[in-house]
Symmetry: C2
Amino acid sequence: MSFQKLDDLGHKLEALEHALAILGADEATHMAVGGGEKRAEAMSSLAGMLHRQATAPEIGDWIAAAEAEPLNDEQQAAVRELRRQYTNLTCLPAEFVERQTVARMRSEQLWRSLRARNDWAGFLPALEGVVALVREEAALRAEALGLAPYDALMEQYDPGNRAADITPVFAELKAFLKDFLPRALAMQEARLAKHPLKPLSGSYAVEKQRELGLAMMAAVGFDLTHGSLSVSHHPFCGGVPTDVRITTRYKTSDFLSALMGVLHETGHALYEQNLPKGWSHWPLGKARGMAVHESQSLFVEKQIGRNPAFWRWALPVVEKHLGEAWSLDDILPHVHHVERGLIRVDADEVTYPLHVILRYELEQELVAGRLEVADLPEAWDAKMRDYLGLSTIDNPADGPMQDVHWPGAAFGYFPSYTLGAMMAAQQWAALTREHPSADADLAKGDFSAVNEWRRARIWSQGSRWSTPDLLERATGEKLNAVYFTEHLRKRYGG
Amino acid sequence: MSFQKLDDLGHKLEALEHALAILGADEATHMAVGGGEKRAEAMSSLAGMLHRQATAPEIGDWIAAAEAEPLNDEQQAAVRELRRQYTNLTCLPAEFVERQTVARMRSEQLWRSLRARNDWAGFLPALEGVVALVREEAALRAEALGLAPYDALMEQYDPGNRAADITPVFAELKAFLKDFLPRALAMQEARLAKHPLKPLSGSYAVEKQRELGLAMMAAVGFDLTHGSLSVSHHPFCGGVPTDVRITTRYKTSDFLSALMGVLHETGHALYEQNLPKGWSHWPLGKARGMAVHESQSLFVEKQIGRNPAFWRWALPVVEKHLGEAWSLDDILPHVHHVERGLIRVDADEVTYPLHVILRYELEQELVAGRLEVADLPEAWDAKMRDYLGLSTIDNPADGPMQDVHWPGAAFGYFPSYTLGAMMAAQQWAALTREHPSADADLAKGDFSAVNEWRRARIWSQGSRWSTPDLLERATGEKLNAVYFTEHLRKRYGG
């Protein structure tokens, strides 16, 4: 039976994925510095084995044969996702992948040195090369998937995402934010005039912050028998569903940054820990995609972790671990601080979507060939001034060179960040319709009903549905900007 | 060129070995408890891939073809070791390996529960099954290797070890020890009567012990940019040569046990870290075998770490980290304590070889069929009374059931422990002939000349020579009991 062959293959691929996931987490947390070269060699060799085994020509035949076999619903879903993965993995010719890998690695390396020197002119030819290959990739993927080129790129990160659906929702959000941001900033100023910001200053020992993080993780639902918390340069969530490795980094002068990082990564971890175990060796058993994953981390970080109700419960926990007693009025201005800035990764809930929409718009233009890389600084600056009132024209390092996504050829990835934030707000709204006591639960540190809803609607579904379908099944409607704008209005506007 | 194919294969196998080594170390140090089942599944799947790739039938042809190719010395050595590994990996039929794996796993599981209940009768049938299969294995290996059955078993652990060479050396050592042990104990008693044992009592914080361990590791030559120290239930040395993971365990009431564990594992680690890097993807680049490896750990633990000269330097280091000032007369009676005991792993330098020789003698009888498993308790007890003056007849849990080697079918492994101790003494003697100032070096904490000698003679040689040849090339003579007996006489007899 061909399905059985695919099932056996799944177990083999899972072992290689397990090794890569743990080696990757270990590299960032426990590896000796001198171990890097051999680690890179080993991981690249294992990744090659995984790719070769996952793309072997006979798998296409097995999938076709399995599609004709009498299978139950679950098995049919497994085969559907296998086909999807197989098509996405095999639709680029090997010679193209090699050319692209070389161009991407060269561009990433160049970017590291040239960003530091703010050298756009030096970087331009490399990025032009990357964008030319992205256009080629989009065409190849579009051909194989029967999708528009930009949709074909997004399809890798969140199946079912289509620009035709996203653009109007983003347009609505953008219109709202351009109007809302100045008002939110004015409100913040007025509030701070009445009640000046109290610095959360002190010296917070790493070990105490770590204990606080672990206590919060456990309270929010992280299963410490199937995961752990370490330190790394950039916080991440890695490992495997049975052993999820999350990390944060500590500043002794500031406990909030590590803690919010822990909450964000705990959101990712809860998704991984609660995926359906019986499907773990199939693509079906994996998290749905990047936007859905981000919706889970942002759910914990923003919907829960920046919710005033949460802080009613959390403040005494913080006090117990750090020995400092703050009031809600002390902590919330820090947790809800809004500020216009140039850098996406440093942005707050209100300004972040404007950074993302800017990218979404520009990268569609780049992929379509309506914008050339050489014209990017001006195009970027124009939107930046329009959306955030800031100019980057003399500062490409903090403009189009600010992060590694484009140098690394990851086009079609950006919208997922804001889709995740919107989906988290929509999920919270749906959840509170069913559980009006959700805020009261948070204020008691009781996350059981909230997590039960998420387990049933999101986590247990693995990759059974496309991203838009998963959202619609979970919340009863398609992506709707109103939930996110209402969330922002309530938190920052009133 | 067939050699090139073997070289490429080596890189692939190295990647899988790397993954298995890091996953294994991670399992014992950082894995979440609930991650065990999936980890076992992944590792067994990866080990299967490694075995299949390392034993593919075409490799035999490549090796034969490479043997006829014009190769330089190094490449010829690489092919020799490849042939040796290939023969050892392929000489057992798959159906036999499966039968043996089942019997061994069942026996190990039974042993865990029945040892706790001291239930020899219950365990007997399982061990009989294991021994029957070991006899079969020895015959199969003997046939493939053209060796005597017991030699064929030892060949897996230390190529070149032959009972005909070892037995007379062990006989000489045994005769010495049976006479020496009572005298050493009497001397110890007399010494303690004059200078009563001062307990090294105190409370030593784990973090301070860890810092002490790291300082000692670094001083002795461990490269902390290519390795690390963690905690695990049983100390071990794992990982890969570019990232050696050693562990220890801490008791706050006793700093010596963790520290001596660190020194022992550092000995293993120095060997791994200093293997020839250019050969790392060939069997040629691996450590020679179990006895040689043990000679390196025991060199650091016994020749260096229990040497009074070493403690002249080490005591101030200990004082600096733990804040306690002991004199040499306080510490040496602990470091040199001798005691008759039932358990091999708890034994000291003087009594340990008697435990090993007992096993060496009994397991040869078992493999040859001259001793049946049912008669083992009596045979064991007779030797135990003869060599150590202790009886185990009513206590099989501390007799033939005391460790997992026999339940796990690891026959031919025991002699390596004492060969390692003898080889370490012989190496120390050869080294001090060339560097008469070695003791003075240790007393200054200067390990450079000692390590330079070991790097040139042992570490850099990888698997180029058989175990006896490596020893002879390094020390100028074959295994000679005199160096170890002289070492014991000097340390415990005078």
